[in-house]
Symmetry: C2
Subunit: 231 residues, 2 copies
């Protein structure tokens, strides 16, 4: 089967890349530049795809980012919220309709290249934070995909019911080279260890009991170990 | 109500622009540069919006057109098919998933600007030609729009059951300045009169019995007048 993978170079989509290859798919990996400040992820995506001999393309959406203002992921004037994901502060990291735009572009590539499906790595932990990571949203997009052309394209989201820890565990089985993946929203030289994705990443390795090879600028300490009670 | 209008500068979307303004809407008009050879339409769109004091923006998708190859609308190596629309030759004019991409970008702008709806001018004549102009497709996109953010955005398509001739008739009632609109896929100085959209445009004016102010390089002659029977 031929699949277009929405590929950020992060942990989840890299595990999905390995999963698709293990299943025998021909993968077309698509990274999206939507003006994110953590643009370093694109270079990680390109390098991982190259190392696996996977065709890789960049969708450059810089011509529309002026329409999608107001998010800390694209605006340098708004600070990335620190700490663990929680609905209130993470709303700031939402780029309006980012997922539907990326999925629509991926579907266009899939139609042109006769791919049967678009794969993306939305997982259970995303649902409560981002409306456009919910299963109902994905189902509506899947229906639109199937109707968009004479030939059907399917939206494939095998991680939709999995936690990030379960994705890490699956990645370990597939011998994913986690050290090459990139999660941090800050986009510095190494993972900051303070932003929501760094906490989430570190936590997933802890919960999965898989060694975390990531160098962090500051040690993520979530869940914070409780101090021993004073006696 | 605030509406983001997908605005090509063509006949249908210009009538819809007038319709929305007549209904009291605040309109944000969005033109999309997807590398179409008839890029002249964008300038027509900008000028019409300006003349009506409507906010106008351009979504520049030139960073993704390499993924959407194979259409005569974006490739200079493929000729625009001449003659009236018919499924076989018009398939060449389809840019893969163009409508979903445009709609997703428009929805992103609508979310960011707190608009209640995205309006677009798909009409009954489009259905048989383009899969992504069918009502079922629009319904799936509408559902995705409503789920994409914490606040619902609606997909508004008031012309979905109308013919192009009916749209022209409605435009005449609204005193649309048809001479400023642009339809031709060739993108020359004036309408070519030979491509599918020129035929369709000319035919719509004839059927609506509305004077066609368009200068054509070659007179469109569809439906060809039947010669009088020989006696």
């Amino acid at each position: 089967m031929k699949s277009v993978l929405i590929y950020s170079g992060g942990l989840d989509s890299t595990v999905l890349l390995y999963e698709l290859l293990a299943g025998g798919d021909t993968v077309l990996a698509l990274s999206v530049d939507y003006g994110q400040r953590h643009r370093v992820e694109i270079e990680h995506a390109r390098q991982i795809a190259e190392s696996l001999a996977v065709e890789w393309e960049l969708a450059d959406l810089s011509g529309i980012t002026h329409l999608l203002a107001g998010s800390s992921l694209t605006s340098r004037e708004i600070a990335v919220p620190h700490g663990h994901y929680a609905e209130d502060n993470m709303k700031q990291t939402v780029v309006p309709n980012r997922n539907m735009i990326m999925l629509a572009v991926a579907c266009g590539w899939a139609i042109g290249r006769q791919a049967e499906r678009v794969a993306y790595a939305a997982h259970a932990g995303d649902h409560s934070i981002y409306p456009d990571c919910r299963p109902e949203f994905a189902e509506a997009v899947d229906r639109a995909f199937r109707l968009a052309d004479w030939r059907e394209v399917q939206l494939y989201r095998p991680f939709i019911a999995m936690t990030k820890a379960e994705i890490v565990a699956r990645g370990a089985e597939l011998h994913v080279d986690f050290g090459r993946t990139w999660s941090c929203y800050e986009g510095g030289e190494i993972h900051c260890g303070k932003c929501g994705t760094c906490f989430e990443r570190s936590e997933a390795f802890q919960l999965a009991k898989v060694p975390d090879p990531t160098p962090y600028a500051a040690t993520p300490n979530y869940p914070a170990p409780k101090p021993p009670p004073l006696k």
